[in-house]
Symmetry: C2
Subunit: 103 residues, 2 copies
Amino acid sequence: MKNDVKCPLNYTMNLIGTKWKPLILFHLLEENLRSGVLQKHISGISNKMFTQTIRELEKDGLVFRKVYPVVPPKVEYGLTERGKSLEPILRGLDAWGLKDSKI
Amino acid sequence: MKNDVKCPLNYTMNLIGTKWKPLILFHLLEENLRSGVLQKHISGISNKMFTQTIRELEKDGLVFRKVYPVVPPKVEYGLTERGKSLEPILRGLDAWGLKDSKI
DNA sequence: TAACTATACCACTTTTTAGTAAGTTATTGC
DNA sequence: GCAATAACTTACTAAAAAGTGGTATAGTTA
């Protein structure tokens, strides 16, 4: 099913409209994190979904990946400028949930 | 998989984090619409998904449904106060998509 | 009386998303 | 030699989301 190109909202939802993407982006707002640390922050995510989701975010240029050539591996993730530009939206979603869940 | 109750973002995504929900809400921002008209605004949605999605929005108190007892049926949908409180977020998502898609 | 209307339901199938569990890598330290 | 490590990767399965096509309704109009 094709999306309506005329609706930018659709464009946005295609980029971040999944279960885990907003969560991962949100947890990177404050600081870059090592792969394992970030994953532990996202309660409930499976190893597979984490890798898969962050790969897509990377492919879409919302997240960057920095690999340190050491053993054992060290990988760091952070937001790109494009990713950072989502900050108001992510905070908005979070704030709305906080407020609404108290009603 | 349970969601992290501690993260309000998760709460919000549970309410509107699907393919069609934000679209439907967005198209109701300006005015209440008859079922058929609304559905035609959402390009690509199937009849079944429309009904199913709007039922959930109604159940969650984001959308109200007004039925006129006439034949053929007339049904109107609109945003509740709770639904309207999502306006900044919906517009934010739309605006972000518009800006980003031009880069 | 038969077609038309707007809305919504149901059964069924396909597609997408998510979860589990195991295996891979290359080096350190015992 | 072998376990421990961090970050994946793969094969398989389960669950959720979405699509298709058909049916019901009951007045109005032709």
